[in-house]
């Protein structure tokens, strides 16, 4: 039996966000809200593990009331229970404050449904794009953390140990650790399923459980929301791609290429790479 918590965030599909060229501000109107897609890979893995070893999957999300929709989507995919952590006092949280609230919520999930073995978060969000909330939660719960997981290769219910592959820039690391553990999901982890009909029917009826600050009597108010966030946005601007002093080359192909190579040959590059002494091979 495994108890797995999946932390999901509803995010604006930032690929759809445009910048108003006149005001240099973000145009968010009409931008669809989606479940951060790395989080769906976390959910899929949780469901696969549940199918294999038995257990339950609880999904949590911190966000404004419309995030309920994201949670219902998780229910349709097969999560057992979904909790929305929502309160105006949580607004404006950076990763430090977010991980505090989510860790507190996971403790409450444990009080409600029993000890948690695995927590999944996404590798990063589309909007926050930091990948810091996962490690933050793991620290606060004082559990193991395995980031950038591309494959869960084994779980031993007796020894309570998991083996995973982590995909790093220069290779794949095979690592084993004890549960409870927090893992951050890569898209290589799996291929999320489509919601089955019974799941969709259940989701249509389902009302996520809502927790507000009132549900956390021991919450440290100085650690939540804007007040609990050490980082602040100083300013934002639209990066102007610095236009170069472009010289367009004319003529037929031979002329264009000839002119281009004349330009290159005016630089230090032929000497640097030994093109002007080709017989010596490359490298100056």
């Amino acid at each position: 039996m495994l108890h797995i918590v999946v932390s999901v965030k509803q995010v604006p599909d930032s690929r759809e966000i445009r910048i108003d060229p006149k005001t240099s501000t973000l145009v968010r109107i009409g931008v669809p809200a989606i479940v951060n897609f790395y989080d769906l890979h976390g959910l899929e893995e949780a469901l696969v593990l549940k199918e294999k070893y038995g257990g339950r999957v609880t999904v949590i999300s911190m966000g404004p009331p419309p995030a309920e929709k994201a949670l219902k989507q998780c229910i349709s995919l097969g999560a057992d229970e979904a909790v929305l952590i929502t309160d105006r006092a949580f607004a404006g949280a950076d990763t430090l404050a977010t991980s505090y609230v989510l860790a507190e919520a996971i403790k409450k999930v444990e009080e409600t449904w029993g000890p948690v073995d695995i927590v999944f978060t996404g590798k990063q969000t589309l909007d926050g794009d930091t990948g810091q909330v996962g490690p933050g939660i793991a620290c606060r719960l004082d559990i193991e953390q395995l980031t950038y997981v591309s494959k869960v290769t084994g779980y031993n219910g007796e020894t309570k140990r998991v083996t995973v592959q982590r995909k790093l820039e220069d290779g794949v690391e095979v690592v084993e650790t004890k549960t409870p553990v927090l893992m951050t999901a890569l898209k290589e982890l799996n291929k999320p399923r489509r919601a089955p009909m019974p799941g969709m029917l259940r989701a249509a009826q389902y009302k996520p459980i809502v927790w507000t600050t009132a549900d956390f009597p021991n919450l440290d108010r100085s650690k939540i929301g804007l007040k609990g966030s050490p980082t602040i946005v100083g300013k934002t601007w639209v990066p102007e791609i610095k236009a170069a002093d472009t010289q367009m080359l004319d003529g037929d192909t031979k002329v264009k290429v000839g002119t281009l190579f004349d330009k290159i040959w005016e630089t230090e590059l032929p000497a640097r790479f030994g093109w002007d002494h080709a017989a010596n091979g490359k490298g100056a």
Binding site: D127, T177, S229, P239, I241, K256, E268
Partner: protein, 365 residues
Amino acid sequence: MTEEVKKTTEDEMPDWSEYRGVLVYVEHREGVAKPISWQLLGQGRRLAEKLNADVMALVIGDNVGKLAEEAIAFGADRVFQVDSPTMHDYRTYPYSRAAMKVIHDAKPEIVLFGATATGRDLAGAIATHLPTGLTADCTQLDVEPDPSRLLLASRPAFSEKMMATILCKQYRPQMATARAGVFEALPRDPSRRGEIVHVDYTMAEEAVAAKVLDFIREESTVNIEEAEIIVAGGRGLGSAEGFKLLQELADELGGEVGASRACVDVGWINHHHQIGQTGYTVRPKLYFAFGISGAVQHVVGMQNSDMIIAVNRDPEAPIFKIAHYGIVGDLYEIVPAMIEEARKRKADAASGKGSKTEAEGGVRV
């Protein structure tokens, strides 16, 4: 930086005078530093100079004395070396605890990590424990001088459509992870002097739950980040075959082949070649863009190249705005002509025919 950041008044800030200097985490594999480590040390030095403070390096590993010396050659005034068999492989728990000890003792005002899997994993753990603010994935790092000494950590937001400067006023140290390839390393100087501090920190292997069982290195022969010449292709190539042609030109010039994401997504070439927001950031001496439209997500990864040459069929392609030389035309005509031209010039030079360079007295470096 285009605009002024709102000046912070002194009374908003707690007294942080105990915290001085910039600390850079030196990421490595088996004692071989990742290029980002020296890039950050270079940038760390620039920030430290503005703050009139030291730049320090943090080296954690097993038998990493050589690496500590390298850190000095690449600009560190002081290196904290944590050396123990338990630290052979990177694991969050022992590494974060060792780093936190160094941070507590050395009290840097700024700590920088590479925005790599390891750097983000480690920085995320440390920042939560301390606690302090951590800005992810920066592409610009600057400081406000005395008295605020604020780190101006700027990063792309909303799929690169905007930039945001993130500040951390109420906590120290100020932490950030930064992208590879954006900042320049200092030239390696073995004569540079610095101090190596051996940090007395050990952790019993039994205290660490995570065990690294294996590491399968991805045998990638491309080293796009350090290439001085990049011959990049985009969707305009039309097929995987097109990359063979680019490889021919790259071989002729001694460069590496790069790609836009569009080509990686359809599987014409693997991700190790991808340049841009979700790929590598590069700054070669010479960058060719063949059949690349110049989407902002691509451009952010290559716009700092010394010389950019764009070839595109569409005269309106945005890539021409940032290119130094532009050719409107079919790449399948231009590339073969370039290969031929390169061969001819090299052959002429080899056979001693008066090349243009010699006539003009080209400078050797």
